[in-house]
Subunit: 348 residues, 2 copies
């Protein structure tokens, strides 16, 4: 039996070797299936190992081999973020993928008050939603460890491999749908330049407008803001000053919901004389009247894709360097709803 008392000294390779009457080196090779030796010896070692309940010390192995079979995930305030469906689903996807490759998944301490005293014992890191002023994220991205960013990296952060939702396509779909329903002057409320996502949304909307000979009204929000009230306060003066706006695109559900409130207060009719959409779907949006058109962020798929990418970088010689700055994208379905007036349904 392998059952042993808690607190008993762990069984080391030395113990196994002694028990089997071979040297540690031979024992190591026997268990790893490497090296050349008689099958008898190998079996003897294996038996000893099993009988003693031997488990290799991952620390020692990692120190020697440089691989730990563990991957890290970082998200600013990971614990609080678990309350959001996005991070939760992302994490579930990441865990599934990591376990599929027999790696443990480490949720890295996101205490931002102090830097890490030691480098995390992981082979690579996924940084979810890298935000320029997140110190821990920056710290991780500067470490000599392969990093995959889940979502675009803002300027002034070290480059790394990126896996992101295909926001460009999705947002264009939304804009086209709104244009088909008559919209001409969009307003975009998106996170400021600390967010790569916000930057991308701005780029896309500006480009789309330019193609039509117009320019969007732009409002900056904070990535971490999770309140309809804040967004409403921010949008009110802008919408008052720009009565010509006939399409409000909010990055977050909160921005879209805030816009809805402001527009109604201004006597306008969402889904009628003004259209509204969000670049990230959320429960509240479906339940509004009118339901709000939104991009479905494929959180689960993104989490899995980030880990898959990381693993393949790890498995490829020089893979991490080759991946620097390259972007892999995951489709983001668009849910067209009544708030953009025209057609209704899902576009994948």
């Amino acid at each position: 039996m392998t059952s042993r008392r808690r607190g008993a000294a762990p069984v080391t390779l030395k113990d196994v070797a002694a028990d089997a009457g071979v040297s540690v080196a031979t024992a190591s090779q026997a268990l790893a299936g490497r090296g050349r030796m008689t099958d008898v010896t190998r079996q003897r070692v294996r038996l000893s190992a099993e009988r003693l309940g031997y488990r290799a010390n991952a620390l020692a192995r990692g120190l020697r081999t440089g691989r730990t079979q563990a991957l890290g995930v970082h998200h600013q305030s990971a614990a609080a973020s678990l309350a959001t469906a996005y991070f939760r689903d992302f994490l579930a996807g990441a865990i599934e993928a990591a376990h599929r490759h027999d790696h443990d998944l480490v949720v890295l301490s996101s205490d931002t008050t102090r830097p890490r005293t030691s480098a995390p014992r992981v082979d690579g890191v996924v940084v979810v939603d890298p935000i320029a002023d997140d110190l821990r994220a920056r710290e991780l991205m500067e470490m000599p460890v392969p990093v995959v960013a889940g979502e675009h990296v803002p300027a002034h952060m070290p480059p790394c491999a990126v896996v992101a939702a295909d926001h460009a396509t999705a947002v264009r779909t939304v804009l086209d749908a709104a244009a088909a329903a008559g919209a001409r002057r969009p307003l975009l409320a998106a996170p400021d330049e600390n967010s790569g996502w916000g930057n991308l949304l701005r780029e896309v909307v500006v480009a789309w407008c330019a193609e039509r000979g117009t320019t969007p009204v732009l409002v900056s929000t904070q990535f971490a803001t999770r309140s309809v009230d804040t967004e409403r306060a921010r949008l009110t003066p802008v919408l008052v000053a720009h009565p010509e706006v006939d399409l409000v695109v909010g990055a977050s559900p909160f921005a879209a919901l805030g816009a809805l409130q402001v527009l109604r207060a201004l006597g306008r009719t969402p889904g009628g004389d003004v259209l509204v959409a969000a670049c990230a779907d959320g429960q509240g949006l479906r339940e509004e009247d009118p339901p709000v058109t939104a991009v479905e962020l494929p959180a689960h798929a993104l989490g899995a894709a980030c880990v898959e990418r990381l693993v393949s970088m790890l498995d490829t010689e020089g893979g991490a360097d080759a991946a620097l700055g390259t972007v892999q994208t995951v489709p983001a379905p668009v849910h067209l709803r009544a708030s953009t007036s025209g057609a209704v349904g899902v576009l994948r």
Copy 2:
């Protein structure tokens, strides 16, 4: 600046020592704030470390000190379980607590098809919902590492410290409420003996009945079962055979919902001539007609409490051994709803 190329060799203590013109030993002590040396030397070392962007190698440190500053969580099929509010909230609580103590939280690979090849590099492990036939859980509990079980440990598993919701008090509250509304013959549908939770529920209900000179009807389910249909199929013959049952207590929401369906099909009136309750709250229960009385499992608090307990065991000499088999309990509020007929409201 500390920014360095990806793939560049990590800065080791040796580099720092060389840069500061001292030995590795001195460098180590300087950074740890231990040892006796002039403040000048210490500062010089610290400066070098910072300038080079030194981060201690957690593997090497762990190998030497036996502490890794990381804790593990195990749950059978962790990834799939993230879909449940329970595990998600539990994990959030655990992560918060772990980060509070500056530990990383490792979601251990729950691939049950093969045993771990190496022991996880963690100082302690939380096993959520230990199930007797979960091989990985058993494996972890047999390792020479402190373990805290989140929920009661079934028979035939190694003993360990336990943190559990106070099901006994909660279920008695439910039973008393039902009795006050006239219920006399309870049926309990709970997971089989592989689940410590199921065992406890049975004990409590049997004891409660014994105090009233009766015995409950007992139905066994599987812990992993997450479907109303399965539960309905299981309950149908039993409820047909026992028309005298006037209170159905389901361990999971699924069992309670299944019971509701069966009872209605049999022409009975939940909340009227038969009462229904669940030992774990879930979204579906609140939305039923009548809404179903249920115990709120304090998942977040449990997750946090498990980690806190683990940390305190780690900090106490011999704390792990002392904790073996002891149970710490977390209050579980009871939501009395119309399905148990009488009073309605929350009891904490």
